[in-house]
Symmetry: C2
Subunit: 194 residues, 2 copies
């Protein structure tokens, strides 16, 4: 039995909005364009998102949050260094596939929005991602260091993504990948040796 | 003798635009509001920036770039660890002074703009900041490691700034400050000992 349209359409619209945010930013993400891009009638967009653009963008940020968190949980189940590497490799592949023309929808909202609700949603998503990374590290590192490293990893990934988008080049991301992996291996081996 | 108005006004407008970008994002930064905020007549804004909003935003990004680069050069003249600490402390103070309601104008443009010229300008500014940090580290670290650390420092600062703005809290920035300072001291002391 195919999924009922009523479940699939809002998800498609949220994914479509995330895609527009990633490519074109917050101002350029309009309900009309998201509907067109997702192949959904404009009326159904307003039906599912009666709160308009802010509600659709909130759904897009949550959708991105859930998708990345799922990948992160799988990655971190492979162990701390392998997990962080897997996460960074996946993120890098997405940047390279777009010729470094895309950013992160959550970052877009965090820097460009002035809506309290949207900012809170972005903060929630960053918090979830950070927790998943920190939980994976906490089995191997002291809790405070795990929290710090998780914040640095996520902040460096987001900042480097913006740098790559600006310069249309993957080099900044490659710098942080090399550094983060080495720093993490180092922390772990020193703790193991202490 | 007071400075001629013709030099001061474009600078004031660029600074005003940087301030609006920092608080309200790219879409909300309009020529009319920047003129009002800077106390300049609208006509003079179009006189100095005949290319309109993109030209004004480019000037705002350059103005931010120059201001921060100057502070960074002074900071790094104090030595690698003291310099990076000073830079991070200055950036942190600006975030705290705004109750974490501001971001970085260059980051705003890097994630939200789709103009090739604006993106190039943002990339140039990131590149300059990274070089100033790397130059300060290169006297004490191997060139490749200095480049990597400079990229990580800048990327983590930008990413953490966005996280702080989203959650209206300085905690993510404090995480990266502690981590970066410790990692840097560690690299230096191990090189000194090797």
């Amino acid at each position: 039995m195919p999924r009922p349209v009523s479940e699939e359409t809002p998800r498609q619209l949220a994914a479509g909005a995330a895609d527009m945010l990633r490519h074109s930013g917050l101002a350029a993400t309009t309900i009309r364009d998201v509907a067109k891009r997702s192949g959904a009638p404009l009326g159904s967009t307003y039906h599912y998102f009666p709160g308009g653009k802010d509600q659709l963008v909130t759904a897009a940020v949550r959708h991105t949050g859930d998708t990345i968190a799922e990948g992160l949980r799988f990655a971190m189940s492979q162990g701390p260094v392998a997990g962080v590497r897997l996460f960074l490799q996946g993120w890098r592949a997405a940047l390279v596939a777009s010729d470094c023309q895309v950013g992160c929808p959550v970052l877009v909202v965090a820097v460009e929005s002035t809506s309290d609700e949207l900012l809170r949603t972005a903060a929630d998503v960053f918090g979830t991602w950070r927790s998943v990374i920190a939980d994976g590290l906490r089995e191997h590192l002291p809790a405070e260091l795990a929290e710090q490293q998780a914040t640095v990893i996520l902040a460096a990934v987001e900042g480097a993504t913006a740098m790559c988008r600006a310069q249309r080049d993957i080099a900044p991301f490659d710098h942080i990948v090399d550094y983060i992996a080495a720093a993490l291996e180092d922390s772990l081996s020193r703790l193991a040796g202490s």
